[in-house]
Amino acid sequence: MDFKDTPEEAAFRTTARAWLAANAPEFELPAGVHIEDAEEIRLGRAWLARKTANRYGSILLPETYGGRGGTIMEAVVFAEEEGRYRLPRGAYVGIGIGMAIPTILKHGRSDQVERFVGPTLRGEMTWCQLFSEPSAGSDLAGLRTRAVKDDAADEWVVNGQKVWSSWAHLTDWGVLIARTDVSVPKHKGLTFFVVDMKTPGIQVRPIRQISGLKDFNETFLTDVRIPDTNRIGAVGEGWACAMTLLTGERLGQGGEGKDRGIIDLIRFAAQTPRAEATALDNSAVRLALAGAYAEEQAEKHFQARLRTMISRGENPGAAASIVKLIYSNRYQKTSGLAMEIREMAGIAHAPDDTFTPELWYDYIWSTALRIAGGADEVLRNQIAERVLGMPGEVRTDKNVAFDKL
């Protein structure tokens, strides 16, 4: 066991750090303020383009696709170094890199790989994810959006409604899963497509969120025509594609993003005056923050164990779900605690205080993290069933044709 960089890793870290120091600052997002969505996405594209031009866009992808062809440990090192900056790396680039590319590489044809991978890596093509529907979230396979083949035109005609589609109002392409056969059980009749968001019949309506922002949407699809050449994988193979995509999502979680480390909250408590010196001198606060810090460290080392497995070609499977489950719950608890440390200033702040609004945003955003990308309860089911071997849920829908449900 060795938690230190190998000489090769250390050398790569030095190179990456120097490159980031010279390139990252001009793309950083301001602290404590939300810039316009369109501006954020513009910065996100530009940062990705800069990285890819220097072979940092994807550390893992082979060079032929525009990646670096590096190791998983190099990817980790780069993510750690990149994480020191507040960079625009939201879903508008994350869905393309972490979901669309892996799915197209695994299930797509070579002309599709050619057409989509390079432009996505260069930030020329941004993506949204058209999966969830009003009646299909955790139970994704219950989705109702229909795709019917028009053989004469060699096109699919899609009708339905998607929801919670992050950044669909500003992205170029969508990954879409739709039902192509209602006469077979729900998981079997699905097919995976990529769709140009400018196609006629797509209407995107922003949804006002509890954060006050509007970065996810309702997406209505009315007689949307998708050429068969934009189908990824075989007809009826949609569920397998979705699983590839969601695995990409899960492995991408944690380690990414500009979230606050617990050390910042500890520092903040140490600088908040109280009758007994500072808030950090209160034993309840101390205990809670030390516990959160210990857990954050443990989670980091757990991820390191997962990466060791992956780099040996082993599949950690559902054990990886721990990371998001633990992270999002801690995030909610500690941002709530941080508000308490502010005492009443935590619920109403002065104009020059830019920190409290960040805490508010964290406290609100944490609720989304506990739901999106596998809700807590779904992750616990996965761990219990796939890691601990406990029985699956009682199901009434498994071997029944979708149109008989």
Binding site: M1, D2, F3, K4, D5, E9, A31, G32, V76, I263, D264, I266, R267, F268, A270, Q271, T272, L280, R286, L287, L289, A290, G291, Y293, A294, E295, Q297, A298, E299, H301, F302, A304, R305, R307, T308, M309, I322, L325, I326, R342, H349, D352, D353, T354, F355, T356, E358, E377, L379, R380, N381, I383, A384, E385, L388, M390, P391, G392, E393, V394
Partner: protein, 377 residues
Amino acid sequence: MNFDLSDEQKMLGEQARGLLSARSTFDRLRALIDAGFEWDEPLWRELAEMGFLGAAIPEVHGGLGMSELDLAVISQELGRANAALPFFSSIVLAADAIRLAGSDAQQSEWLPKLARGEIVACFAYAEGSAGWTGGAVKARLANARLIGTKTPVADGGVADIAVVLTEVGGEPGLALVRLDQPGVTRVKLASFDQLRAHYSLIFDGAAAEVLDAQPAREVLDQLFDRAAVQAAFEGVGGAEACLYMARDYAMERQIFGRSLAGYQAIKHKLADVYAGVELARSAAFYGAWAAADGGNELPAAAAAARLQAIDAFERAARENIQVHGGIGYTFEANCHFYYRRERTLALSLGGRERWADRLIAHLPDLRSEAPDHAKAA
């Protein structure tokens, strides 16, 4: 970076597990309690023969000279088996204290005997609820004579010698005392863990020698940090045993016409226990690596490992009884061993408060370098 045990370490763990699961069965533990035994002496001899006691003791002193991580693998298996052995007292604490603070002569006199299991040592630090830091230590050593009361002392009944935290000339010191001498009285205490007997050791002018190669001030923190890592592994082993005991029971138990393990309340509970165990194991790995590496990350790493292990084992031990229902409350079921051991481990070496303090004290520059947001606020 490589964040896994080596193949040799995994094999060592399997060996220890094999031996312990064959010898230290739950029926054996029950028999020891019923007979009023304080340890499983024959098993101790076997551990010694297999080299487990001397695993981390230097080769020149009769050990195998292996690393903290190898020792940790053994600690984890002792925790899993909930063994009735003075390993933590004699090997993890006392032998390490002698190695860290003792002179060459002291090391070569005592370490080989400890490695071979010929003698057992205990480590006497606490003096009741007052703890053992600051001015709390009242035991005094003067003119090679020790006066004071240490309590509670784990394994104080079976030990031949004690390493005692005492004041020496106004400074903290570590003294080595033979327990079979007139100036020593041992009073057995009622212990929460029926398989780890604690004693009061009363010293009334007992002959003692100072471990004086290093000032105790300099080695104590390190000693406790290193022990905290081993305790974390013991806790992870115990927690994992609880997890699978609960899982297996739930799989067999039929309730309302189906397996108890199929109910979400139980699945989710055990998923959380599992997450706790894996996080604690990860923190413990890092702690052991930091101990072996000798860098300055040990204090924070040990404290984090300790806090995570307490959380994990506590939850696992409690929920294990819960999943078992009424049978979990019986002496015949095996949950209670862990439920008692968990508290013993959690409170030895100081509990959450002490380690939270230690963790926070070792984080980088908390009060300097104000973060931007705090300046504004």
